[in-house]
Symmetry: C2
Subunit: 237 residues, 2 copies
């Protein structure tokens, strides 16, 4: 299996970075092929802009997704995007590894998604969810956060974590066609001691060895919608 881990943390000695190292070691011990994109170390540029395109379909008016499609097809997309796109296309499993910033990924990782999940390859037209460009691949969020687990339960103060992360799980990874596996969440990390952290890393490593036994999250199938994306049942009424 080819694993791509996209990682973003501004502190190389952080717990989240230890999660990265544990993941790499775990997969390599299983004989898998692991590639890491460490976005802070790479000084990844997160800003989608006209500078991403060597040629322009419309030089006077930037429609970012349109230029993505055209520039990827013409091998004219910025080299940093092209390199990441190659890694993405090659992988069987994508892991996004990050600390939770405002109930989402840090900006540097959002900019990886904005720039690398290109129209044409990853999605486009009615190619999303179970027809998305990434179908056949699996994806997983692995993140740390400050809150305790019960704060993100159904009756917790923030409601369910997966609802808070719906834009990532469904709106991004599910939309792109990945089979999205249940997230690994390391709770309350800034406030716990070394022993609890070590146990959490063990739990993470163990989870990564059992991914074949985990059912992906349920998302819509486009079979239930017509060509205009209206629910088929409704149309039949």
């Amino acid at each position: 299996m080819k694993v791509l881990i996209v990682h973003a943390h501004p502190e190389p000695k952080s717990f989240t970075s230890s999660m990265l190292h544990r993941a790499v070691r775990t997969f390599e011990m299983q004989g898998h092929d692991v590639t890491v994109s460490d976005l802070y170390a790479m000084q990844w540029n997160p800003v989608a802009s006209a500078a991403d395109f060597d040629m322009r379909r419309n030089p006077d008016y930037l429609v970012y997704a349109l230029e993505q499609r055209e520039n990827v097809a013409a091998n004219a997309i910025a080299p940093d995007i092209a390199a990441e796109l190659d890694k993405l296309i090659a992988c069987d499993l994508l892991i996004l590894s990050f600390p939770l910033y405002w109930c989402s990924v840090p900006a540097i990782m959002k900019g990886w998604l904005d720039r690398v999940l290109v129209s044409g390859k990853v999605y486009g037209g009615v190619r999303f969810y179970d027809r998305g460009g990434m179908r056949g691949k699996r994806a997983l969020l692995a993140y740390s956060c400050g809150g305790r687990d019960y704060m993100f339960g159904a009756d917790g103060v923030h409601g369910e974590m997966d609802l808070m992360m719906r834009h990532m799980l469904r709106g991004t990874l599910g939309y792109a066609g990945f089979d999205v596996l249940p997230s690994f969440v390391a709770h309350h990390v800034p406030y716990i001691g070394d022993q609890a952290r070590a146990a959490m890393l063990d739990r993470y490593g163990e989870y990564l060895t059992q991914l074949d036994r985990v059912a992906p999250l349920p998302f819509p199938t486009l079979d239930d919608f017509d060509g205009e994306m209206r629910p088929r049942e409704r149309v039949a009424i």
Copy 2:
């Protein structure tokens, strides 16, 4: 009323940029004081890093939120963050104006949130939701997207848009203590003609003149939770 509009679009001639201009004109005609942070024009740096801090509580290990708190208190936070924080503290209404990228804000705007919504001023400890630092202020998302409105209904292919945007509405703006007003969403923008766009801009302008009549979205009150953020009813059982 002081209005801060934080805007992010890579194309100055875009429809979303027209929304910005309409908002500015509408508020100024009403005699309000409008400040715009146009993130692409400002070449805003979205990457939270150690470079944001002129002094370090812990120079060997970066805990970003901790250094935010300390550096804001010591007036040692990066000047670009300090300038935005001043605008934020001064405003009565915050509008985030953007095109939807992967069911969220573009990375450059995520980096405004990551860097400017600082621990200590905006949130911290048990200061969130109705005890958040931004209480008394209102906030609003105004965004464009490619999908049609029915795709984001309760039985739409993507489910409800506000659920997809929960990380922003509740996890970010609500958490920070803002009264969050219903979003203005411009649907299907890349595929509609000039007339439909003009009508949409009119609808946006009209909405902005009626904000006083709009009820904010409901979020939890911390009165319902104990000091450990467990639901009070549960504790009483």
